[in-house]
Amino acid sequence: MKLITAVIKPHRLDEVKDALQAFGVHGLTVTEASGYGRQRGHTEVYRGAEYTVDLVPKVRIEILVEDDDAEQLIDVVVKAARTGKIGDGKVWSVPVETAVRVRTGERGPDAL
């Protein structure tokens, strides 16, 4: 099994979710995140005091998949998340030792 993690622009979440559903992914976890890459942050002004805001809002998506599906699923996420502008985010995968479905106790790929 693999854990796919994607950090993307918040407004692309719906597209990514729809694409994953079409691909046949049954579940995912979404977290609100902050971060920056090459695009860095922006400047805000409050009563004359200027602040650079380094961290910009992002959405972090986590999906557990079987090994064979991993590469294709990464492509699906990347395609759905892409706007072509700076700040589109990153996607990566790491191997996962085991997974358990809490309700039934099923283990491994059966738990997905």
Partner: protein, 443 residues
């Protein structure tokens, strides 16, 4: 009711008193939105406690010190009305019951110390603040209100009644007074941890907008109500208030756009308050064109003045000096330039052929109130700071004053955060609080 009583005027003044009362919660929101999340509640309750403390002191001795018969030289009222005794149910002043006048003036006494709280955000010990409010209204606000607002046919307050300083609704007694006190108090307390280094951006601009909207609304009571009658002067004060405030929003936004490249929401809200402050003393003596001029100047000048704290290195957290002291001074001096002599007052300003006479009187009023307020506020602040303490520990300030001083947090949006809490019995809670206090003392 006796001859001269007017039911219309009385109804108007009661409504205005309620409008002015609403300004204090409005101010709490205006300030509350501007601080960081961790001190939101402290900021709100610093204003709210003024409603509680000053109301009680007002009926006990505040009214008689401010509006009792003059005790000598126009400096303070005598104690004839201690506890509001000796005021009959049907006694009137002008055309309204004394009770209505007293209620209206009380609301001014409440908001003035509340205004100061913005200068000392995030770091003021609540007991120290409460004591400061009680002492400050006693030795600063009540006497200054007497100087400026008490008229008794030439035997009233020494600035207004005896020397012709014009302050229609409180440019000196309320705004310069509070603004300068804010400066004194933030100098006593010192800068916040991270001043000029950490970002201290407002946590909720919608709350700031709500607060400035409530202030604007309530200010019609403040200014028009100061005519103490539902008449033409009140109408003029009402319209002057609206148009000066509007012009100040434009003035502030124009300055900001030129200087910083953006029209900010906070700038619009701050410009409105700057305009309201500046027109307060002048709304009963200037024309609508004069009001527009005062508004534009005040908006732009206050927008420029708020950066002084960075240059001179004092942490007036929410710009009480830049908005209330500077705005109040502009409005008070502007009377000496723009008074037409045809609104509520006969004195004329420089631009209307009155020469420099009124301008000199206004400058004297500004200087007297500013010096008196600064010295007394600084002394009171030092006295409290050296005894029961006026500033929380650095740990408390960094962690957030809300939890340490009030045992609450302003917002709980997090499902995880809520599930971490566990209900404890009342006894356990009291015990925990005591333990927390002990830890704080030890620290």
């Amino acid at each position: 009711m006796p001859d001269g009583f007017s039911a219309g005027d009385t109804a108007f003044v009661f409504i205005c008193a309620a409008l002015v009362m609403l300004m204090t919660p409005g101010l709490a929101f205006f300030y509350g939105g501007m601080v960081r999340v961790k001190s939101t509640l402290n900021m709100l309750v610093m204003s709210f406690i003024s409603l509680a403390i000053v109301s009680v002191l007002w009926v006990l001795y505040g009214y008689t010190l401010a509006f009792g018969p003059d005790a000598g030289a126009g400096l303070i009222g005598n104690l004839d009305f201690l506890g509001m005794r000796g005021i009959g149910l049907n006694d009137i002043t002008g055309t309204i019951p004394v009770t209505a006048f007293s209620a209206f003036q009380l609301m001014f006494a409440i908001i003035t110390p509340a205004l100061i709280s913005g200068a000392v955000a995030d770091r003021t010990k609540f007991t120290g603040w409460a004591l400061f409010v009680a002492l400050w209204v006693t030795v600063v606000y009540f006497p200054v209100a007497h100087w400026v607002f008490f008229f008794d046919g030439g035997n009233g307050g020494w600035l207004g009644d005896r020397n012709g300083v014009i302050d229609f609704a409180g440019g000196t007694a309320v705004h310069i007074n509070a603004g300068v006190a804010g400066l004194a108090l933030c100098l006593v307390l010192g800068k916040r941890v991270g001043f000029k280094k950490d970002p201290m951006r407002p946590h909720s601009l919608p709350l700031v907008m709500l607060g400035s909207g409530l202030l604007w609304f309530g200010w019609f009571g403040f200014n028009a109500g100061s005519a103490l009658a539902a008449n033409g002067v009140a109408g003029m004060a009402f319209l002057n208030t609206q148009v000066a405030t509007a012009a100040a929003v434009l003035g502030w936004l124009a300055y900001e756009k030129i200087k910083h490249g953006a029209f900010t929401t906070l700038g619009a809200a701050s410009g409105a308050v700057a305009g309201l402050v500046a027109i307060t003393p002048a709304c009963g003596s200037v024309s609508l064109l004069g009001a527009i001029a005062i508004g534009i100047v005040a908006g732009a000048a206050c927008a420029a003045a708020i950066s002084l704290k960075y240059r001179f290195n004092f942490d007036d957290s929410l710009d009480v000096v830049g908005v209330h002291a500077v705005g109040g001074i502009i409005g008070s001096l502007a009377i000496g330039l723009f008074a037409t002599g045809h609104v509520g007052q006969s004195a004329q300003g420089l631009f209307y052929g009155g020469g420099l006479g009124q301008l000199g009187k206004q400058a004297m009023g500004v200087a007297v109130v500013a010096v008196y307020s600064f010295v007394l506020s600084w002394l009171l602040g030092q006295a409290i700071h050296k005894t029961i303490g006026l500033r929380v520990s650095e740990d408390v300030e960094v962690a957030g004053i809300d939890q340490a001083e009030h045992a609450e947090s302003a917002y709980d949006f997090s499902a995880v955060g809520a599930s971490l809490g566990r209900a404890v019995s009342a006894a356990t809670a009291a015990h925990t609080t005591a333990a927390a206090k002990k830890t704080e003392v030890d620290a």
